[in-house]
């Protein structure tokens, strides 16, 4: 069953351009930007979907339309059977939103104090609220920060608490807009693991916007790529991996290079002092390895499939 249905969605913004400062005192000039251009897709219950795209592609705008924060210019959106822009209370009770680098927690209070307001507004039974808060805060290692004023917490701690605040009420859909931005590796790993767990154990549908490929690979099953406001790819990660760019990336480690004509072996992807990486078709792999190792003192070899990044880059560049 589809819990999100989007048909021919469009969003345009009026952007002020300042050319002449004297004129701009009296009258502003505008240009129209098409942030979302005729986008259509559906999401089933329990899916974990990633929104990808270059900066300014329209991913966050689409997410905001799905949560009712922005009104579409035209097109239809249905989320959980509701029109998000109506901001129906029942609808808001069933969703959660987390935005990287933004905080909904009251800056002057502790997280626990803000959560007590959420308990009331989401009508979470008090015992369930306490046990859930306890469980979630221990899971994300922030139980000792629940009573610290939010302004005194680090970004990682704040984001984890934001995440808890967004799922305390057991939403059906969780929207995440760059949730791991600016976080250290361990925090990122914790959050990704946590998201996967809640998706599998509680059947929460995840809609994730991110630039971090590891976020996508480890948390999501399906990828939607938006570029210049248009949906250019909509399929599973497995499909992406098996149908896009099957090149191999071979990294040779050496202590000294004998051969000066490195370009003759193939396309160089990356070159450093003690290593060089070639991008090569799978059929040419054996020949590359044998010719390179015969002419150079190779210490080690890594062979990798195309990183997800490269596949996505290819999609961006296609349109």
């Amino acid at each position: 069953m589809n819990i999100i249905e989007i048909n021919n969605l469009n969003k345009q913004f009026k952007i002020t351009i300042r050319k002449n400062w004297i004129k701009s005192i009296f009258k502003s000039e505008y240009k129209i930007k098409k942030a979302v251009d005729n986008v259509s897709f559906t999401v089933k219950k329990g899916e974990s979907v990633a929104f990808l795209g270059p900066n300014g592609a329209g991913k966050t705008t689409t997410t905001k339309m799905m949560t009712g924060l922005i009104y579409p210019t035209s097109g239809e959106i249905s989320v959980l059977g509701f029109k998000p822009q109506d901001r129906n209370k029942e609808f808001l009770m069933k969703i959660g939103l987390v935005m990287g680098n933004k905080t909904g927690l009251n800056w002057d209070l502790t997280a626990r104090q803000t959560f007590s307001i959420y308990q009331k507004i989401y009508k979470i039974p008090i015992e369930k609220y306490k046990s859930r808060l306890d469980k979630l805060s221990k899971l994300l290692n922030v139980d000792e920060h629940l009573d610290t004023p939010v302004r005194k917490l680090s970004l990682g701690e704040r984001m984890k608490l934001e995440l808890i605040g967004a799922i305390l009420h057991d939403p059906e859909i969780l929207f995440l807009d760059e949730p791991t931005i600016g976080l250290d590796i361990i925090s990122k790993q914790n959050i990704r693991k946590f998201l996967r767990e809640i998706q599998k154990d509680h059947g929460i549908t995840l809609i994730l916007t991110s630039h971090d490929m590891d976020d996508i690979e480890l948390v999501c099953d399906r990828v939607l790529v938006i570029n210049n406001g248009q949906l250019v790819f909509d399929n599973t990660i497995d499909y992406l991996k098996s149908n896009y760019n099957k090149d191999k990336y071979v990294k040779f480690y050496f202590d000294s290079i004998q051969d000066l004509d490195l370009n003759s072996y193939g396309e160089i992807y990356e070159q450093k002092d003690a290593s060089i990486t070639y991008k090569v078709a799978p059929t040419s792999l054996p020949q590359l390895i044998s010719s390179f190792t015969s002419k150079n003192n190779v210490i080690d070899i890594d062979i990798n499939s195309t990183p997800l990044e490269e596949m996505i880059k290819e999609i961006y560049e296609k349109k």
Binding site: R87, G96, K102, T103, G104, N106, D108, T110, Q113, E178
Partner: protein, 272 residues
């Protein structure tokens, strides 16, 4: 949603944002002392100012020296109560819209207008800012020379509350452009300029009839200061003033709700 739920949600918001803020504020000792000392000093300067004026004149807009000091006291009360519950929240709203933090309020089933209006109720700021100076005012005023009655006191309280609602609305008006243009700090400071230079410096009777009406209606900066003092001193009709204040507050609340709905409809939110 039932009426009980309606009240219970809002009460929870007010309770948390008041009591809890108070407890947290107690811990910032240094800042507390700065506020206390500077506010007290402000009052001393004010009292000096009035004394200097009255060495040259015997009345200002029919107000004697003690009546002017009372006006100053009420102006100070209005200022600190407004800062404690209104001005700061409106400034935060500007920030929230610009940075996109408002998204995280709007995506929750919170009564959004109520929440952003009462997000922070800093009673402690009011206590440390207003009380020390008020003691100085109270000690200096010759209360027996003032024509204050029990009825005028009650009327003044009602009008003062209406004035606060009006001030909040006026500040809210100055915030609305941020939903469309992305900047409103100058408008906020313009509203402050009106409130301070007019609301707290000039008694109601210091203005022509036209301006008196203007500054208690369209630019309602004098209700909780000038009109309140005038009523308290029995210089204005009590009943008329009470009725007027109640009507004006209801109208302002209704317009505020409509404006909020309109602003949200046009809200494009800051980019991530």
């Amino acid at each position: 949603m039932g009426f009980k739920d309606f009240i219970s949600e809002r009460w929870q918001i007010i309770k948390i944002n008041t009591v809890e803020t108070f407890m947290l504020q107690l811990s910032s000792i240094f800042e507390n002392w700065i506020v206390l000392i500077t506010s007290f000093f402000f009052v001393i300067i004010n009292i000096l100012f009035i004394n200097v004026l009255f060495t040259n004149v015997s009345t200002i807009a029919t107000y004697t020296k003690d009546q002017m000091i009372l006006f100053s006291l009420i102006g100070n009360l209005s200022f600190f109560i407004n800062i404690a519950w209104s001005a700061d929240n409106m400034a935060s709203l500007i920030y929230g819209v610009n940075k996109g933090d408002l998204d995280l309020i709007l995506s929750k089933p919170l009564p959004s207008l109520f929440y952003v209006t009462f997000r922070k109720i800093d009673i402690f700021l009011f206590v440390k800012g207003f009380v020390p100076g008020a003691i100085a005012y109270i000690v200096i005023i010759k209360w027996f020379s003032l024509n204050i009655t029990f009825e005028s006191c009650l009327a003044a309280i009602v009008i003062f509350i209406a004035g606060q609602i009006a001030l909040n609305f006026f500040q809210f008006l100055c915030v609305i452009p941020v939903f469309f243009r992305g900047s409103a700090e100058q408008l906020m400071s313009l509203s402050w300029a009106f409130e301070y230079n007019l609301g707290r410096m000039i008694p109601l009777e210091g203005l022509d009839k036209f301006f008196r009406i203007l500054f208690i209606t369209l630019i309602p900066v004098m209700i909780s200061t000038g009109l309140t003092t005038s009523v308290l001193l029995n210089k204005s009709d009590l009943l008329l003033s009470i009725l007027f204040s109640i009507v004006v507050s209801i109208v302002f609340i209704l317009i505020k709700i409509l404006l909020w709905k309109f602003a949200l409809k046009n809200y494009t939110s800051a980019s991530s």
